[in-house]
């Protein structure tokens, strides 16, 4: 312990701090940088994030490689593999985020953050930005491997595939943040995965095309955001130019992510018992 630095604690000196309004890009960026710094210390998570989706995609590739395809129709791997490029980042980011947020809660840092000038939405947007960035790197690696090593056939630009994967990942982050508000323990947090994620995967059009589902299932499918992500990917897969439907789908997914973030901010209480 050293002598106190009086110039820092003296009330008479002019305050050097910058005050921020309710929402501040500066605090969002500081939070995103902090989350990424934490991620950087966890080498195994980074390795798994980057490599795992490619390996899983490889397994699907080998599964269907030698099966015959109907003439004039895309191969099963081309359809499923492309869809997986949207589903995998969604699932991974949902899990990573709900655990990260739960850690923030149990370590007491969340309560501490809520006593600082950080706005609740700054915190959540910071998480969204950090994991969205991680998802972008993940998507670049996966899409590159899929189109070169596994010969995944994509008619449109692979940058659009990356974009959709990132928006999907941000959706996973947003829903993970929202779900973590309702989880008190790690056990509960992990079980929100099947509750929130699996119905969306079942009904997104991967297993059965949406227009062949029973009417009431179609109605459910149409309000689940993952359905739009899958439709967007199918659009990129089948047409060379970006279609209006695709942009609309991307907009819907992004809107759902923002809505989930706003809901997560609303359910995050500063005062607790």
């Amino acid at each position: 312990m050293t002598a106190p630095t009086t110039n820092r604690t003296a009330r008479t000196s002019a305050p050097t701090r910058t005050r921020t309004p309710h929402l501040s890009p500066r605090l969002t960026a500081a939070t995103a940088a902090r989350v990424l710094r934490q991620l950087r210390h966890d080498h195994r998570t980074i390795a798994m994030m980057l490599v795992l989706p490619s390996l899983l995609l490889g397994l699907l590739y080998l599964l269907w490689k030698d099966l015959p395809t109907f003439p004039g129709q895309p191969g099963i791997f081309d359809r499923v593999g492309l869809t997986m490029l949207g589903i995998l980042p969604f699932v991974v980011m949902f899990l990573v985020t709900s655990i990260a947020m739960l850690r923030e809660r149990t370590s007491g840092t969340l309560e501490r953050l809520l006593t600082t000038p950080l706005a609740r939405l700054d915190l959540l947007l910071g998480y969204g930005a950090a994991f969205g960035l991680a998802a972008a790197v993940q998507a670049l690696v996966t899409v590159t491997i899929a189109t070169t090593v596994y010969d995944l056939d994509v008619k449109g630009s692979i940058w659009l595939v990356v974009l959709i994967a990132v928006v999907d990942a941000v959706l996973g982050v947003a829903l993970g943040l929202l779900a973590s508000a309702f989880a008190r323990t790690e056990f509960q947090a992990v079980q929100f995965m099947p509750v929130v994620v699996l119905p969306q995967v079942f009904l997104c059009g991967l297993l059965v095309p949406v227009d062949q589902m029973a009417g009431w299932l179609q109605a459910i499918s149409n309000v689940l955001p993952l359905t739009y992500a899958v439709e967007a990917l199918q659009e990129v897969g089948s047409s060379a130019a970006a279609t209006g439907t695709m942009w609309l789908d991307v907009g819907v997914v992004a809107g759902a992510a923002l809505l989930a973030l706003a809901l997560a901010a609303a359910t995050l209480r500063r005062r607790t018992n």
Binding site: T2, R8, T9, P15, R17, R34, T116, P117
Partner: protein, 240 residues
Amino acid sequence: MDSAVTVTDLVVDRGHRRVLQGLNFAVGARSVTGLLGPSGSGKTTLMRAIVGVQQVRSGEVTVLGEPAGSPDLRYRVGYVTQSPSVYGDLSVRDNVRYFAALYGMSSREADAAISDVGLTDAADQVVNDLSGGQRGRASLACALVGSPEVLVLDEPTVGLDPVLRVELWGRFHALADAGTTLIVSSHVMDEAGRCDRLLLLRDGELLADSTPAQLRTDGRSDDLEEAFLNVVRAREGMAA
């Protein structure tokens, strides 16, 4: 008395249990106020009410003239929880710099806060690799960096060796001399003597709002622990 914190008829329930039963007191500005009482007496709940993160049943808590927890106070009130609330997978420097950014301070001030708690040599170590006492000081630095006018510290000296404890108390008084109001909780009575004022809490009730000297007189003992016991017995005798 120039007061920094005023608590009026504060009642807090947790679950079905009444944790604070109508507290009334004021905390003098630019001084060190000790919040003493056994574990479970409501110290942490009271501190959480002062920093504005505790749901209260009724009553008022005013800090620096504003209702506890109001947005402006988030710049002016610092809170250090009992268990160190810092990011274990980040270095001390990264932790303090993050909180510096939240309070609108620069990395220069972050380095000063690290030096103030004596962690300069460990600044680049990951918090998980530090000892318990060092973690607590890292947590303290994250609050000091905001240069708060009111600093609320929940059992900051638990697990520290005696030399560090004395140094930390010296640091608290230096902060008070520079204008900070400190509220420090402890369940060890021998720390009571280091405070300017004392609030004795037991079962959610304020047993005494006093000074160490006054408590020694009232409790008819130079030993603060014994004086505290005598005050408790005298009250229970009155109630019986």
